[in-house]
Amino acid sequence: MRVGVVGVGCTKFGVHEKTIQELAFDAVKEALEDANLSKDDIDISVVGTSNTRGYELMPAVPINEYCGFAGKGPIRVEAACATGSAAFYTAYSSIISGMADIAIAIGVEKMTELNTPTSLAVGGRSGSYLWEFHQYGTTFPGYYAMHASAHMKKYGTTPEQLAMVAVKNHRNASKNPKAHFPKEITLEKAVSSRYVAYPLKLFDCCPISDGASAAILASDKKIKELGLEAVYVDGIGFSSDSANLTRREDYAGLKATAESAKMAYRKANIENPVKSLDVACLHDCFTIAEIMAYEDLGFCKKGEGGKFVEEGRSDFGGDLPVNTFGGLKAKGHPLGATGLAMIYEVVKQLREEAGELQVDLENYKALIHNIGGTGHFGWVFILGV
């Protein structure tokens, strides 16, 4: 059996004066309309939300009720910044197992209901609380900053190369009305911004955003029966790593990325990702994360990620365009919504519906790389038509 994505929806990312269920509703509505299905066609719903910042502490049921899915699930999943991917996998599994013919994965996050110091203290708990945040006041930018310090020392990656990721992704976001920051920035502005967590500066960091996204998945039998248009799931890879930083072998990359990529490539028969893929969504919560991902996904050799962006190889017209809708960096990163917003992006690209941001398609294959924490969760998906 094959499983395909038959409908996608995504809200604008940014600061929304809406409840979590209202945001989810907007994404679900777009996905249902996109699939040309009604809510009654859905067999089961999966709600992905980290929701460590919102006022509704157990939001899956209120979201499910608001979207008219009462009685169909919900299964709530959480995998930090990779929550959307865990939701997608759960919906996929419900179909592959034969328990459902059509499933919806909803990813949503309300991050702006708290002030910034509280939000930092929540994100700083994403490792192993007692041994990291409690004693040392780790923050999420701080975790990636530590990886950046190792990468820069080991491979000579420069602050300018980090900033080039931000400049590229902001340029892409400037043509995406759904992005939190749809505006270009200059290299000079990025490099001269203040430090948040050395060596990472303000423009190396993604914003704190609200947003929702949704994907409707169906079995190939149902797709045929209803005459739906589908983008198929060709390969899934998953992995994870230690909670404690002290139990990592190395800080200049993420093992969870390399391991999940290996699994997904094997399942999708991909030997040379740069040649086999047309577009990729990488997890660029911080600029260093995109650079490490080029390497850990095998787009270039270890240590050459800085050059990969500097030479324009991840830009439009390059070897493999990365984060064409602006990435987490400029489009925004509402944790639960991010993985499914990547599904939204590659589905739009593979259907040639990306407008100004459309990439050239040769193989009709795309990659999604979604990380939770600093490699605490790793997901890679290969989609194709």
Partner: protein, 134 residues
């Protein structure tokens, strides 16, 4: 329109009984890890159970000597709970033989620098490891 939610405060009572020795050690200037007596797996932070072979027979060992900085950051933004800090603070991971340890650094450091360890408590009374460049 925005309305304010009812206040909710979490201040957890954290059970540290099985690794009390670690916290007492910090008060005496000692930093402990654990080693599994059955398979030899080493743990920092220390833990009373072995995640590798599932034995619960572990030995407490003091981590000493000089370490090498593997990664670090200097934090310029302060999360809730750390408002008492009025200047940027350095968090690092350093390798001491088979153990990697997290700590605050009292000196400016870089990846590859050699450091020693000492313990102290911060203004909120939380004991921790501090690195000094050697």
């Amino acid at each position: 329109m925005i309305i304010e939610g009812r206040e909710l405060t979490f201040k957890h009572n954290i059970p540290v009984t099985s690794f009390e020795r670690y916290w007492k050690g910090l008060e005496n200037g000692k930093v402990y890890g654990t080693v599994c007596k059955s398979c030899g797996e080493k743990f920092y932070p220390p833990q009373p159970d072995c995640s590798n072979c599932y034995s619960s027979d572990v030995e407490w060992v003091e981590i000493t000597g000089e370490g090498v900085v593997e990664c670090f950051t200097e934090q310029h933004s302060f999360p809730a709970g750390f408002e008492f800090l009025n200047e940027s603070y350095i968090i690092a991971v350093a390798r001491f033989g088979d153990f990697k340890v997290v700590g605050w650094s009292r000196d400016k450091i870089d990846v590859g620098d050699r450091v020693s360890m000492e313990t102290d408590r911060d203004e909120t009374g939380v004991w921790k490891v501090y690195f000094r460049r050697v």
